[in-house]
Amino acid sequence: MKTHKHLIRCNICEAVNNDHKKIEVCRRCQHPISKNLNISYHKTLAFLITAIILYIPANIYPILISKQLGINSESTILGGIIHLWEAGSYPIALIILLASVFVPLLKFILIIYLLITSKYQDSSSRVDKHKLFYITETIGPWSMVDVFVVIILSVLIHFSGIKIYPGSGATAFALMVFFTMISALSFDTRLITNKGNSINANT
């Protein structure tokens, strides 16, 4: 009774379901629960790769462009953080550093770790991995802070002499956050629970 093996939690309505091989929808909300864990695995991986690719232009291209008396100056995410740090506003620099550099990287690493350990047997505990996944889901949207700050600044600093506007880095960054969130949402927690077995069967 206390075993977890044949029970799964619907991630939409949180109902406990029997995990028989022929289950297709959640018994309460009819949300499809895929029979094939491979689909979830590959979806997560595909979205993750898209996000990692988008992370490169997000860092290379300027996220913020300011136009002062006809002169353009561009700043990337890292450039902006360094600028803030030099200007002495350490708390803001830390918030931006945390939200736009550490959170996405942490998410990439956590999802990769969870995907790899679902393929191979390992000794780490399931409870810890469930907690890691919970963290991944919770911190996800907070990396949008930088994009929103740029948008708010572009509305407020909108005079004839000086203008700030979002660069193409902002678009790439917003899409990156979007894809990491989809990646985390398409990760099936059964990949943690029954590690190895059902996945290796038909790869």
């Binding site: 309505c13 109902a15 600044l153």
Partner: protein, 213 residues
Amino acid sequence: MLSNQELDNLIICKKCHTLHEKISLHNKGKALCSKCNIVMYQEDNKMIDKTLALVIAAAIALVIAFLFTIITINIKGLEQSLTLSSLFVVLAEHQQYVVGVMFLFLIVLFPIIIIASMLILLTLMKLKKGGYLSKRLLILIAHLRPWSMIDIFFLSLLVAMVKLFDYANIELGISFIAFIFTLILDIIVTKSIGFYELWKLHNEIYGQINEDS
């Protein structure tokens, strides 16, 4: 294989996925996960009325937050104010369509849909009508919850204000205060009523709808 009744008596912790058997709680009791100590479910016999009141207040605050000026800055006599409509005008002017559309959904549409669905859902539950509609609304809210980023928008607003602090005078608008109220009410609502409680109330009010097919 367990029957539906047996399954209803079980709960899996959302954080650490530990399986628990449910115990009955006295009024205003809370059940915590034995492994990671987060609240799994709670009991309160006035839950619908309390939450409905909070959601109505949150809806009013949200409407005010979206309609009026959030902040106004003043740099050497030049004034510029931030409202939701000016935000979309500026984004369209700079041709940032992707960011604009994402902003529209994440900050405006999803929070409005979530609050409106909560309002309709709780009203239906109070009147004990519309079992099917309330079930659809519950599923809709569950799908949209992770995508509502109004709290993150508020943090960004604070960051932007600190950045502008040295150069400009900042005046807080009506919407700024309304935003604070929306966020506080939202936190109280999510703390006091989870999906577990909503589904339990749904089952109690409309009976077990899921016939085994």
